[in-house]
Structure formats: structure tokens, C-alpha cells
């Protein structure tokens, strides 16, 4: 991906407003942008959701096909997460094979849902060592205004809730709902001039010093984290983001 150029003027503008406790879009530091989730948006997918988080828009599609399990987990289905940062979504995204940024987005989303046991993969086993369901979670970014991590995570959780295992089509008995276990919700915050802001917009991401994504499950336990960018966090700041993740995660979970 080509790097965005940020005008110093814009950087100053954002920083000056933050000094007064204001974000450029009028939000409070700990406030998410408006969130809308539309499930079962794609009929050809086994589960799907279209998520709008402010101006960021992603579609998450879940597909299941039959396949072989990995040798080291013969009793578990296989989870594969893929993110497409297509050029439609931003003038800085380019076509072609996934670049570092798409891979990071896909891996952070994958980590949240895998480590948080969003789906009970053991229940996706048909014959141990021989045949299991391979679950593809495909994230298609349509409009990029920052914080793909959380938009895609919310989309994946919403899609799982409505997904159906297509057993009948594959001649493996009756269809059944995807075995959902937990709802690991992620929250991403950035640090700009020592201030912590949740759900960064594109401009905020571009001027941020550091970024932290924290995923939590229902009981408040942590299941995945990722720190990004070249700035640093203090321990107190990390605790603060963890706290925010629990609190905001609970709210998001209740709305899915």
C-alpha cells in the first residue's frame, strides 16, 4: 500500500483540538462512531454481515466447505481468515496479492475469533483425522475510514451468529446453526500526543503514534491483543485500553 501523506497542518489541527478535549468529528475520546450491523446480507454465503462504523464499511462473509483437518488437530474444523483491502475502499489500497497491512488486519481478526473461541471448532469435525468443515471468514472492505480491526471483528461475530452449516448440500445430514461458543469483541484505541482515543477515524490513524487492539470475551477475560505503529504505551495506558475494551465490548455484544 502506498503511504498516505499527512499535511502538518492537519496533524496540528487534530492535536490542537485534542488539547481542548475535542475530536475532529465531535466525539468524546472514549466514544465509538455510530454502528449499524445488517446480518444475512449475502444470500450466497453461509453467514454474513454488512457493518458500518462511521464511514467505514465492511462486508464479512462466512463460507464452509468440506476438507481435511490439520494433522495436529484431527478433531477440529479449520478456520481461515482473509481480508481484502480492495482499491474500491481507499485511494491508498492497491490491487494484487495481500500486502503487509491486509495480512495484519486478517491476522488480528483471526486471533480474536480463534483465541476467543468464537466458534466451537471441535463441533465442525465430521470424521476425526479425515473430514472436517473448513470455515472461511472473508472480510471485504468497501469504504475505509479507519479502524478496520473492530468493524471486521464485529462483522465476523455478527455473521457467525446467523451462519448455517450447509450439511444438507454436502450430503452430511441436516443443516444446523454454526456452533458459536463466545463472542470475542475487539476494541482498538490509538495514542495521539499522549491521549488515548477509541475507534480511530482514518485521519486519526494516520497521525497516531501508537495503536492497541484488545479483544475480550463475555466474562471480561482477554483473548487477543495487538500493538501497532512505532510509538509506545505506558503500562497505565495499556490497562486503560483493556478497561475500555471490556466496557465497550460489553455494549457492542449486547447489540449483536
Amino acid at each position: 500500500m502506498s503511504k498516505d501523506v499527512v499535511a502538518d497542518l492537519k496533524r496540528d489541527h487534530i492535536a490542537k483540538l485534542l488539547e481542548k478535549g475535542i475530536r475532529t468529528d465531535g466525539r468524546k475520546f472514549e466514544e465509538m462512531r455510530p454502528l449499524t450491523v445488517e446480518t444475512n446480507f449475502i444470500g450466497s454465503a453461509e453467514g454474513s454481515a454488512r457493518v458500518r462504523l462511521g464511514d467505514t464499511q465492511v462486508v464479512v462473509g462466512v463460507k464452509l466447505i468440506l476438507g481435511e483437518p490439520f494433522a495436529d488437530t484431527p478433531n477440529s474444523g479449520v478456520l481461515t481468515t482473509n481480508a481484502e483491502l480492495i482499491p474500491m475502499a481507499s485511494d491508498t489500497f492497491e490491487g494484487g496479492p495481500p500486502d503487509q497491512e491486509s495480512i495484519e488486519v486478517a491476522r488480528v481478526i483471526d486471533r480474536g475469533i480463534r483465541e476467543g473461541h468464537a466458534v466451537d471448532l471441535d463441533k465442525l469435525c465430521i470424521e476425526p483425522g479425515k473430514e472436517v468443515w473448513i470455515m472461511f471468514v472473508d472480510v471485504h472492505v468497501l469504504d475505509y475510514d479507519g479502524n478496520l480491526f473492530d468493524a471486521a471483528n464485529i462483522g465476523a461475530n455478527a455473521a457467525f451468529k446467523t451462519a448455517i452449516v450447509p450439511a444438507k448440500r454436502a450430503g452430511k445430514g441436516e443443516d444446523y446453526p454454526l456452533p458459536v461458543k463466545h463472542q470475542p469483541i475487539s476494541l482498538t484505541a490509538v495514542k495521539i500526543d499522549g491521549k488515548i482515543l477509541v475507534d480511530p477515524s482514518h485521519d486519526e490513524e494516520r497521525v497516531a503514534d501508537a495503536r492497541l487492539t484488545v479483544a475480550t470475551i463475555e466474562n471480561g477475560n482477554l483473548c487477543a491483543m495487538q500493538k501497532g505503529l512505532d510509538g509506545a504505551f505506558t503500562l497505565d495506558e495499556v490497562f486503560k485500553v483493556v478497561d475500555l475494551s471490556r466496557r465497550i465490548g460489553e455494549d457492542i455484544r449486547s447489540r449483536l
Binding site: 499535511a7 497542518l9 492537519k10 489541527h13 475532529t24 468529528d25 465531535g26 446480507f41 449475502i42 444470500g43 450466497s44 454465503a45 454474513s48 464511514d55 464499511q57 462486508v59 462473509g61 462466512v62 463460507k63 466447505i65 482473509n82 481484502e84 480492495i86 482499491p87 474500491m88 475502499a89 481507499s90 485511494d91 490491487g95 496479492p97 472461511f136 472473508d138 471485504h140 468497501l142 469504504d143 475505509y144 475510514d145 482514518h202
Partner: protein, 259 residues
């Protein structure tokens, strides 16, 4: 055109198709212009069970550089299907089919864009098929024209697109998935209603010359209906509010807290 499964009746005794349509009846079509914030222009099309998004960036610097034309802009279209858009997951990324579709859509759009106004630039059109149910190239071209207009790219006219085909020896308009899979012919058409020009035309299958004539005129009638929906989408997007606030354009991007 595959063989028909013996139990599948594409047209019933009453002349109705699988989804209850008559031969000259189209699937419901909905178009919305200006749906994305980052793109210069965008449009979303729901056509039957097809869901297609188009975005336009540009005119902007042309990449790759060697394609730059010192006399005109290049219209570069990229047609892409989401991996979850079809029943069997599609491997992400371009294949031969999408390369071909990208090319013919680029050519169709180039004809209507005043490319000579923007030498050395590229106008990039991205078409994303989110859900596919036959006719995605027509839906894509239809969406792309609206997105170009939404981006303010000067054009001679919109391109409207619609297909006709033959199922169970009957010529029908706007084929749905089963009709495409098990039908006998398919003719996608891209049409410029104001001038009557044909800018995209393909055909596969088997047609007598009478059937072809009938098919193409049905597709053309379809395009004219599509054109009305395209115009309506743009009018809704750029409607001017009457009471007191004459200059306020409803669809204009909300002024962001800028610099």
C-alpha cells in the same frame, strides 16, 4: 450452456419462468448513488439477487505510467467477485473471466466519457460483486456508469446494460441464475440510450437469426428501463431542496471538520 436437468422446467404451462416472471419481465432493480465516502463517485445496485458496488477514483495520475496517453484519459475498470458472492467459495483475486469482463466494461465506458478533457490521467472504476446471480457484468456496467456520473466525470450519456437470452426455446429478458446455467443462449448488451449506440455486446449459445433479433430488441428495451432507474438514482442524490434552502444539495457529501 449446460444440459438441463430433466426435472427442471424453465418455463411452465402458463408461460411463466422459474421465478414467476413473464418472458419480457425484468427482475426488480434498485440503484443508489453516492454510497461510499472515500471514493470520488459510487453506486450500489441490487438487481434481483445480484448485489454490486461500483466506485470511481479520478481522473488521477495514471498507473502504470507507460499506459499514460498524452491526448486522453484512460478508463481502467476492475471487475472483482467477492469470495462469498457465489455458492462455492471463489478464490480471491482475478481470473481470466474477470480480466475479460474488466476489459469490455472499460471499453464500453471509454466510449461515453469525454476522455480528451483529461490527458495523461486515469479514471479508475472498481466493480465489486458482493452477491452474484447471473447478469453481474450488466449490473456492474450499470452501476459503474452511475458511479462515474456521481464522480462528476463528463459523459455523453449513461451506459445502461441488460441481457436477454433463450431458455426452453423461448426468448426472455434478464436471465436469472438457473436460466443462465441451464438455458440455451445469453446476450449481454450495453447501450447508450441517447444515441442508440451499442457499446457492449456478447453472445453465447445457440440462436436462430429471428431469435437473435428478438433477443437484442428485448435487451434494448430492458436497457431503456434500466436507464430510467439510473437517472432516478442520480436525481435523488442531487435533488435540490426547495423550501428556503435553494442551494443546499441533498446528496452532497457532508462537510467534514476540515483544516
Amino acid at each position: 450452456m449446460g444440459g438441463t436437468p430433466t426435472d427442471l422446467k424453465l418455463i411452465d404451462e402458463n408461460g411463466r419462468r422459474l421465478d414467476g416472471r413473464l418472458p419480457d419481465e425484468m427482475r426488480p432493480l434498485k440503484i443508489e448513488a453516492g454510497v461510499l465516502s472515500r471514493a470520488d463517485g459510487s453506486a450500489y445496485v441490487e438487481w434481483g439477487l445480484n448485489k454490486v458496488m461500483a466506485a470511481v477514483y479520478g481522473p488521477r495520475e495514471c498507473h502504470p505510467r507507460h499506459l499514460q496517453n498524452p491526448e486522453r484519459a484512460l478508463v481502467q475498470c476492475n471487475y472483482n467477485m467477492a469470495s462469498f458472492s457465489v455458492d462455492d467459495r471463489k478464490r480471491p483475486g482475478p481470473d481470466r473471466r474477470s480480466h475479460e469482463i474488466s476489459k469490455i466494461i472499460s471499453e464500453a465506458l471509454t466510449h461515453v466519457v469525454f476522455t480528451e478533457y483529461f490527458p495523461r490521467t486515469s479514471i479508475d472504476v472498481y466493480i465489486e460483486v458482493l452477491q452474484a446471480n447471473a447478469g453481474t457484468r450488466c449490473a456492474g456496467l450499470t452501476a459503474a456508469s452511475v458511479a462515474l456520473a456521481d464522480a462528476g466525470v463528463p459523459m455523453r450519456d449513461l451506459v445502461a446494460s441488460c441481457a436477454a437470452g433463450k431458455v426452453a426455446d423461448t426468448v426472455v429478458v434478464d436471465l436469472a441464475k438457473e436460466e443462465d446455467n441451464f438455458g440455451q443462449a445469453d446476450i449481454p448488451l450495453g447501450y447508450v440510450p441517447r444515441t442508440g449506440e451499442i457499446v457492449l455486446l456478447q453472445m453465447d449459445g445457440d440462436l436462430t437469426s429471428d431469435q437473435f433479433n428478438k433477443g437484442i430488441s428485448m435487451a434494448m428495451e430492458g436497457c431503456k428501463k434500466v436507464y430510467e432507474v439510473q437517472r432516478d438514482a442520480l436525481k435523488r442524490r442531487y435533488e435540490v431542496r426547495s423550501a428556503g434552502t435553494e442551494l443546499e444539495v441533498l446528496g452532497a457529501a457532508p462537510a467534514k471538520e476540515g483544516m
